[in-house]
């Protein structure tokens, strides 16, 4: 009996040890993104706009959306996440980061200190970003103003407050593969990149499972709003009957085919898409029209 107990304790320790190892932050190799000088800020501005960085990181109520002071609140089933300061301030922001630090945050969800970020930061989408876009984006973000507003702690209760557990979550849900298989045209390929990587549409338009992971088999089929109020609509053709041109026009002006006008967080998304070239809006529209009914791919 005593030996059995000892064995069980040993087994438990081993399991805990294994979980500890599996949950360790997985970072990029040191040699990747080592050169801080290869970015083009002008190209980076377009990446910044498509990726919607400012939409979440500008201070609530601020008119100047390029001051990335943070502070907006994002309620969810797991607690309320508060966007941090990612301005160039060396103390409160990310002014001391290297490109390598930035890439680890964006593509792996790991801080320079080696802590997991919560996936309210959509690194599950950004993991599909092209390396040059990351470098360009970083060179643009470095040109933006600093704010000394301190980041607020997230309001997340136990057990989700144990960040180490996110390592296990990432094992399940941090997947760099595309959801839509080989796209049939350059336009579709661009649309897939915008939807699945930069604009991270799936983060709101795809339902999540009990652990908060995106249900890839129900891709873009709509989901309850994370703050519990209302529903975020489906984009699949069985639910959305708009033409490709309607989708592109909506992304440009915010007008639905009935000339209702967008509300909620989609307003910020449209403000971004309106600044992108018309080809990008057409590419997203082509992607949306190419979705399978029911979202299974």
């Amino acid at each position: 009996m005593r030996r059995l107990l000892g064995f069980l304790i040993l087994l438990g320790l081993l399991a805990a040890g294994a979980a500890w190892m599996i949950s360790a932050p997985d970072t990029l190799p040191a040699g990747e993104f080592a050169d801080d000088t290869g970015g083009d800020p002008a190209r980076g501005q377009a990446v910044f706009t498509a990726a919607g960085c400012a939409s979440c990181h500008h201070a609530p109520g601020s008119e100047d959306k390029l001051v990335l002071a943070g502070g907006q609140r994002f309620a969810s089933d797991f607690g309320t996440f508060i966007a941090p300061n990612i301005s160039q301030d060396p103390q409160q922001g990310i002014g001391t980061w290297s490109l390598h630090d930035f890439a680890n945050a964006l593509l792996r969800g790991v801080s320079p200190e080696g802590r997991h970020y919560y996936p309210a930061f959509p690194y599950t989408s950004y993991i599909r970003m092209q390396p040059q876009d990351v470098a360009d984006l970083w060179s643009y973000i470095r040109t933006l103003p600093a704010s000394d507003a301190p980041s607020q702690p997230h309001e997340v209760g136990f057990p989700f407050s144990l960040r180490r557990g996110l390592g296990l979550w990432k094992q399940l849900y941090l997947d760099p593969s595309w959801i839509m298989g080989t796209p049939g045209s350059e336009e579709l390929k661009r649309g897939r990149y915008l939807v699945e990587a930069l604009a991270h549409c799936g983060e709101c338009h795809t339902p999540r499972d009990d652990f908060g992971g995106l249900q890839r088999e129900a891709w873009l089929t709509g989901a309850p709003a994370p703050d519990g109020k209302g529903r975020i609509p489906a984009l699949t053709p069985d639910e959305l009957s708009w033409s490709a041109e309607d989708v592109a026009y909506y992304l440009e002006t915010g007008f639905t085919p009935d000339y209702d006008s967008a509300g909620g967080h989609m307003v910020a998304v449209i403000d971004n898409f309106a600044q992108l070239p018309p080809e990008d809006r057409a590419a997203v529209a082509a992607y949306v029209k190419a979705l399978p009914e029911g979202g299974g791919m």
Partner: protein, 153 residues
């Protein structure tokens, strides 16, 4: 008799409870404000469809639509947004409580609509090419307000 009185008050209570939840029983000011937004949408549809080439451009029709937008933008909003008619308090509206918390901000957004509509009124009869940018401006005014003051569906 006692039972009847109880049932009657129960029926009354249910009826009261029911009123708030049925869209057709919305308070008059809420119906009125939703109506004005419908008028905006119909006239924007006329202009937007011409801008997109979905319908043929007609200067008189475009001008009449733009004049209507300006007319709606001149409606005083205060009586249409009485206290107690936010989405927190009644069903069938998407008006956020922030409207009442920041009435000046809301009024400023409404005058933004007026400015964009006036811009459209200036150019509506001058040709099809002018419509696209002007409708876009007006869309910007819609979004600017919805961003802060309209809840998602």
């Amino acid at each position: 008799m006692k039972i009847t009185a109880t049932s009657l008050s129960l029926v009354a209570a249910l009826a009261t409870f029911g009123t708030g939840t049925l869209a057709q029983d919305l308070p008059g000011p809420v119906k009125a404000r939703q109506g004005q937004f419908n008028i905006l949408a119909i006239n924007l549809g006329i202009l937007g469809d011409m801008a997109r080439g979905k319908t043929d451009y007609d200067a008189d029709t475009a001008q009449a639509a733009a004049d209507t937008l300006v007319a709606v933008s001149m409606i005083n909003q205060a009586p249409l947004f009485p206290e107690g008619t936010s989405e927190m308090e009644i069903d069938g509206t998407r008006a956020k409580a922030e409207i009442w918390d920041d009435w000046d901000g809301f009024a400023e957004k409404w005058s933004g609509l007026g400015e964009a509509a006036a811009g459209l009124q200036q150019v509506a009869a001058t040709g099809q090419e002018a419509l696209g940018p002007a409708v876009g401006q007006l869309g910007g005014a819609c979004k600017a307000c919805h961003d802060s003051f309209r809840a998602p569906e």
